[in-house]
């Protein structure tokens, strides 16, 4: 059973890929990248903001926080493999005027420590910044490490700002923007060698703002995170087929830029495709759908996202093809819908 409207690409005959448990990078072969943008951006920001501290639950090396720890060792707190404590202690730090940047994997912050984020950070409106690696399907390790529902969980929490950045260029801008916002923020973190894409689009991140990265007459893709990178690749491919694809990048999942979404989706004649690296339940797709329905805007609407099932283990490219969020699969889906 599946409620998904995605179409997986036909499995091509290709060499069997190996599972990479905790891959350091989601970058494709030959893609331009920048190393550890979160860690380096935080180090720089911390020079101007002495209240910043870094805290992690035994995942400093795997969230690029080790770069901060090396640069500012007296401001780094190792809380052990204890995510509930991590969130509670971050609340306490913020209570005393610090600005904790806490890191762990998205599954642990959103699932294991949910009540602690909800009660000690969001309900008390503490100035805590949560940056989590392995968001959505960015690990082939299986459901224990695949945070397919992190956006849904974090979105459902009052006071919480939720950001799903696309690439290194954006992450570098998101970090200071998180600090400039007074209150709790959840950011999906891409770590290691992070793809560099948006620098070619004269792009500037603004909290709460969606940005039209390119225009097109036939299809409007509304996307966040790495799916924007994919959407731009899809748009380039379909250009060759004379299919115009517009890409509206929505890095801030909450608060949602409903004005930009309604403006773009309200243009008649375009199919709207929401693409997200997340279960189709409760993420950007349903947020956009609700926005459109409430406003009486009813374009042809399709969702590309992860199915409502426990995802498989395996190599990430294989899984992205299987679940329809690779560039190949996404291109095939959109062509099929036209």
């Amino acid at each position: 059973m599946s409620t998904v409207t995605t179409t997986g690409a036909a499995p091509a005959a290709k060499p069997r890929l190996k599972t990479s448990a905790m891959i350091a990078s989601i970058a494709a072969e030959g893609q331009r990248t920048r190393p550890a943008p979160f860690g380096h951006a935080l180090v720089e920001l911390a020079k101007q903001r002495p209240e910043i501290v870094g805290m992690t639950a035994d995942l400093g090396k795997y969230t690029d926080l080790h770069i901060f720890a090396q640069a500012h060792p007296d401001r780094f707190y190792q809380m052990g493999m204890a995510e509930q404590l991590l969130m509670g202690a971050a609340s306490g730090m913020a209570h005393e005027g610090m600005m904790p940047f806490v890191t762990t994997y998205a599954v642990f912050a959103s699932r294991r420590a949910y009540d602690f984020v909800h009660q000690t950070i969001a309900e008390e409106n503490r100035n805590v910044k949560i940056a989590c690696a392995l968001p959505g399907l960015t690990s082939g390790y299986g459901p224990s490490h695949q945070a397919a529902e992190d956006l849904a969980l974090m979105r459902a929490m009052p006071n919480m700002v939720v950001i799903d950045p696309c690439d290194a260029h954006e992450i570098e801008q998101v970090v200071p923007a998180m600090a400039a916002h007074n209150g709790p923020v959840y950011m999906r973190l891409l770590r290691g060698n992070v793809p560099l894409v948006l620098d070619e689009y004269d792009y500037k991140f603004e909290l709460g703002k969606a940005k039209l990265l390119r225009d097109g007459a036939e299809v409007l893709v509304i996307s966040s995170g790495i799916m924007t990178m994919r959407a731009l690749e899809v748009a380039q491919r379909l250009e060759a087929d004379k299919i115009g694809v517009a890409v509206l990048h929505v890095p801030t999942i909450k608060p949602l830029d409903t004005v930009a979404i309604l403006r773009e989706a309200g243009r008649t004649g375009r199919m709207v495709v929401v693409a997200e690296n997340h279960t189709v339940i409760g993420g950007l797709g349903e947020a956009v759908a609700g926005t459109l329905l409430r406003a009486g805007v009813a374009p042809v609407f399709r969702q590309i996202g992860l199915p409502d099932e426990f995802l498989k283990a395996g190599a990430l490219p294989t899984l992205h093809d299987l679940y329809g969020i690779s560039t190949d699969a996404m291109t095939a889906s959109i062509k099929g819908w036209l």
């Binding site: 404590l85 509670g88 609340s91 306490g92 209570h95 610090m98």
Partner: protein, 285 residues
Amino acid sequence: MDTRHDATPLGHNVPIAERAYRIRRNALLMGEVQGQGYIGQALDIADVLAVSYFHAMRYRPEDPHWEERDRFLLSNGHYAIALYAALIEAGIVPAEELETYGSDDSRLPMSGMAAYTPGMEMSGGSLGLGLGIAVGIGLGLKRKNSASRVYTLCSDGELDEGSVWEAIMSAAHYKLDNLIAIVDVNNQQADGPSTQVMAFEPLVDKLEAFGWFVQRIDGNDMDAVVAAFDVARSHPEPKPRMIVCDTKMGKGVPFLEAREKNHFIRIDAHEWQQALDALDAGRTA
């Protein structure tokens, strides 16, 4: 005039036992407003709160956010009725608000929440949160080179929560000698006697093995409570401090002490006045 609602703070020379009496009295008055409440707990912890607010802690009633104050975290948020009684007695919450307890638009909701009440440093209700927050506050105070301390009140049932032990381990790891935790061992939680719901003894041995400086006292012996708080504050080792307080549910109201022990003591409408009278009869100050 109904003098029972006179809960005006007294002068600084009032003995601590009298403060404890007045905290109990405030709690009973609030319980009567709602006709219910965690009265058994409020009565058992009144002595500890009296020592906290009228002997150990530094604070300014008129400025609940005074930077140099000692922080008090109510991890067991259902004890809010007890803390409100102490905050009223301390002059942090005006006595007139007592009769709003648990009502619409009151600053005194039944479960303690930071945004509602002056002097309430955290939002409780969900158990097992406070000690972790206290670790962060302890670390933050040290970052600021602050001499303030963070006190945290937990319940014995709360020890079932794994997060409490995460915090216990980390407080020792970070040598948080500015953290004083109090565990109220009244041996009652929702489903029955705490020791039967989940065995937590030998508590002192466990906490010492985790690297804490631990004292265990009769939490309703005022002299013992004062002495334990003094020792906790002056102890020289770089360790977090725990005061395990054995207390008696309903303390100070003999017929409630004798009532079949229950997490949520049932009190009939006509019994509130009897409880106040019984409390007055046992007044020691």
